[in-house]
Amino acid sequence: MEKLSVEEVKHIAHLARIAVTEEEIEKYRVSLAKLFEMIDQIHLIEGYNDDMMFSPCEEEAILRKDEIGDMLKEDEVLLNAPHKNGKFIEVPVMLNE
C-alpha cells in the first residue's frame, strides 16, 4: 500500500474544512490510503456495475405531484439559527463568492 502524499492529505483536509496537525497528517497518510484501498475492493465484487454505486435500490424513483404542502412558519425557520437579522438568517460575510 502506498501512503498518500502530504499535499493530498492537506487538500482533502481543506475540502472538508478541517484543520490538521503535522502528526495527524502523517496518521491520515496511512489511514486514508487504507480506506481508499477498501473502496477499490468494491470494484472486485462479482457482477459489479456502475448502477450499483449510483443507486442503492433497484426500485425507480416515485415522482411527487406538483402540489404545495405545509411549510414552516417564518419564526420556525429562524428557530435554530444562531444569529438572525429581521426575517433573515445572519452569517459572517461570505467573501469567496
Partner: protein
C-alpha cells in the same frame, strides 16, 4: 499584426416554473416575504429526504425537446459537495453524469446567415438560498433554496459578442414561450456566466479561460464579452500571460473586474445522490410533456408571417406575450391579422400603457374585437373612425354597431352618403374639375383631399377615390 480569435462558451441557469420546489412541497414563487416559503428539506435538516417533483421532470423534458437535445431516459442525481452558507446541506443536488438533455442546439441568425449554436448538455438541479451582503454579515433567505433550475451549457462555439447575445435572446425566447421559465434576468430567474478565451487565429488550442459571472442583462453579456476580449488581446499583444480567473461584470464601470484567480480546479467530489433512486422516463411521459407545450416562438413567427404581418411587427408581437396569446385565440378564424396586429400594437397598446391596464381589464370581448377588425377590413369603418371609437370600444359594454350609432358614425360604404359628399365637392370646385378633364393629374389629388376633408376622415379613401373618378367621368 497577429490576429486573435475569441472563443466563447456560455452557461445559463433558468428557474423552472412549477407550483412547488424541486425536492420539497414548499411554494416556488418569487417575491414572497423572506424565509416564508421553506420546509425542513430546503433548510437541509438532518434526516430529511428529498422527493422529486414530477412537473420539474416534465419541464426538463420540454426544455430538452425545445433545445433539440437527446433525452436521457435513465437518469440519476448527484451531490455536488461544497461548504458555503448558501447551502447548509453542504451539497447541491444536480445531475453530473446523466444530464436530462445532451447534444442540442439553437439556431441564430446573424446578418441573414443562420448558424446553429451547439449545446453540450442541459441538466436539472436545485437553486441555493439567496444571500445579501450587509457590512460584515450576509443575510440569508431560503425561499430560493430548492427552487428547480435548468442549467444550459453551450459548447465553446461562439466567437463574437453578437453571437453570444443572439444565442441568449433565442434561448430566452424559446424557454419563455415554452412556459419553462419566466427568464427574468432582473429577478434572477435567468442568470448567465460567460467563458471567454483568446487565441491566435487558426491556432489549434484555446487560450487561457476567464469566466465572467452573474451578468445582469443580455446587453451587458455583450459588453462584458467585448471588454474581456479587449483586455485579453491587449495582454497577449504585450506578450504577457495570465492565469485562469473568475471575473464579474461591474455595471457602473461597464467593465469586468477580478473576483478570484483559480489556483486549483474546483473539487466538488460529485457522487450519486443515494436518497433518490433512478428516474426512468417512459415514452408516454416524454410524449405527454411535449404535447402539452404551448405554441412556441418559431411557430408563432411562422404563423404571423403567413398571415401577412410585417416582419418588424412580428418581432414586436413576440416581445409582448399577452398580445401574441390574444391574437392566437383567432388563429382558426379568418380575422385579418395585419389589421388586428396593427391595432393591438398601436392604439390598443398605447391605451393600455397610458392607463396602466392589461387587455383583460378592458371591455373588449372576443366578438367585439373580431367585429371591429372585420368592419375595418371590409371598409365599413375607416382607420380614423376606428381610432375615434376605440376608447368607447375598450371602455363601454356596447357593441361596435351601438357605439357607431351613438357616435353618429355613418356606414362609410353607404354609397349615397359618399356620393352626396362628392357631389358637394364637385360643385364647389369647378376649376379643379375642369383641370381634371384637361388631364391635369394633380387635380384629382386635390379633389380627393377635399372629399376626405369634408368627410372628416370618416370614409374609406379607396372607396371614395373610386367613386370620385366614376362621378367625374360621368360629367
Amino acid at each position: 499584426m497577429t490576429k486573435y480569435e475569441a472563443t466563447i462558451g456560455i452557461e445559463v441557469h433558468v428557474e423552472v416554473k412549477s407550483k412547488s420546489k424541486f425536492f420539497s412541497q414548499a411554494e416556488n414563487r418569487y417575491g414572497k416575504s423572506a424565509n416564508s416559503s421553506c420546509t425542513v428539506v430546503d433548510l437541509g435538516y438532518p434526516g430529511t429526504l428529498p422527493t422529486v417533483n414530477s412537473e420539474v421532470i416534465q419541464q426538463g423534458i420540454r426544455a430538452a425537446h425545445l433545445l433539440h437535445c437527446s433525452i436521457t431516459k435513465k437518469m440519476h442525481f448527484d451531490r455536488k459537495n461544497y461548504f458555503y452558507p448558501d447551502n447548509p446541506k453542504n451539497y447541491q443536488i444536480t445531475q453530473n453524469r446523466t444530464p436530462i438533455g445532451t447534444n442540442g442546439y439553437v439556431e441564430i441568425e446573424l446578418n441573414s446567415v443562420k448558424k446553429p449554436i451547439y449545446i453540450e448538455e442541459i441538466h436539472l438541479e436545485e437553486d441555493t438560498c439567496k444571500s445579501a451582503h450587509k457590512g460584515r454579515f450576509s443575510l440569508l433567505d431560503f425561499n430560493r433554496a430548492g427552487v428547480p433550475l435548468i442549467e444550459i451549457v453551450s459548447k465553446p462555439c461562439m466567437h463574437t459578442q453578437e453571437e453570444a447575445v443572439l444565442y441568449l435572446e433565442k434561448l430566452r425566447e424559446t424557454l419563455f414561450y415554452g412556459d419553462i421559465s419566466d427568464c427574468k434576468i432582473e429577478e434572477g430567474s435567468m442568470r448567465c456566466d460567460a467563458n471567454v478565451s483568446i487565441a491566435k487565429e487558426g491556432s489549434n488550442h484555446l487560450g487561457t479561460k476567464c469566466e465572467i459571472k452573474n451578468i445582469g442583462s443580455i446587453r451587458n453579456v455583450g459588453i462584458a464579452i467585448q471588454k474581456e476580449i479587449e483586455r485579453q488581446t491587449a495582454l497577449l499583444e504585450k506578450g504577457e500571460t495570465f492565469q485562469e480567473q473568475t471575473r464579474r461584470f461591474d455595471d457602473k464601470l461597464g467593465d469586468t473586474v477580478l473576483m478570484r484567480v483559480k489556483e486549483t480546479g474546483n473539487d466538488y467530489r460529485y457522487f450519486p445522490e443515494p436518497d433518490i433512486p433512478f428516474v426512468i422516463l417512459t415514452e408516454e411521459q416524454i410524449k405527454k410533456a411535449i404535447e402539452t407545450l404551448p405554441m412556441g416562438s418559431d411557430e408563432r413567427r411562422k404563423l404571423y408571417l403567413e398571415r401577412g404581418i410585417h416582419p418588424k411587427n412580428v418581432e414586436k408581437l413576440l416581445s409582448n406575450r399577452t398580445l401574441s396569446d390574444y391574437l392566437n385565440t383567432y388563429q382558426d378564424s379568418d380575422l385579418d391579422f395585419v389589421i388586428a396586429s396593427n391595432l393591438l400594437l398601436g392604439d390598443i397598446s398605447s391605451y393600455l400603457n397610458r392607463n396602466f391596464m392589461e387587455l383583460n381589464d378592458t371591455k373588449l370581448t372576443k366578438e367585439k374585437f373580431s367585429d371591429l377588425i372585420s368592419k375595418i377590413s371590409k371598409g365599413e369603418l375607416s382607420n380614423q373612425n376606428a381610432k375615434d371609437i376605440l376608447e368607447d370600444v375598450l371602455e363601454k359594454e356596447l357593441s361596435v354597431d351601438e357605439i357607431m350609432k351613438e357616435r353618429n358614425i355613418q356606414n362609410i360604404t353607404d354609397s349615397s352618403f359618399v356620393e352626396k359628399l362628392i357631389s358637394k365637392v364637385i360643385m364647389e370646385n369647378e376649376e379643379s374639375v375642369s383641370d381634371y378633364h384637361q388631364g391635369k393629374d394633380r387635380a384629382i389629388k386635390y379633389l380627393m383631399g377635399q372629399v376626405m376633408k369634408e368627410a372628416k376622415g370618416s370614409i374609406n379613401p379607396k372607396v371614395a377615390n373610386e367613386k370620385l373618378i366614376e362621378m367625374l367621368n360621368r360629367k
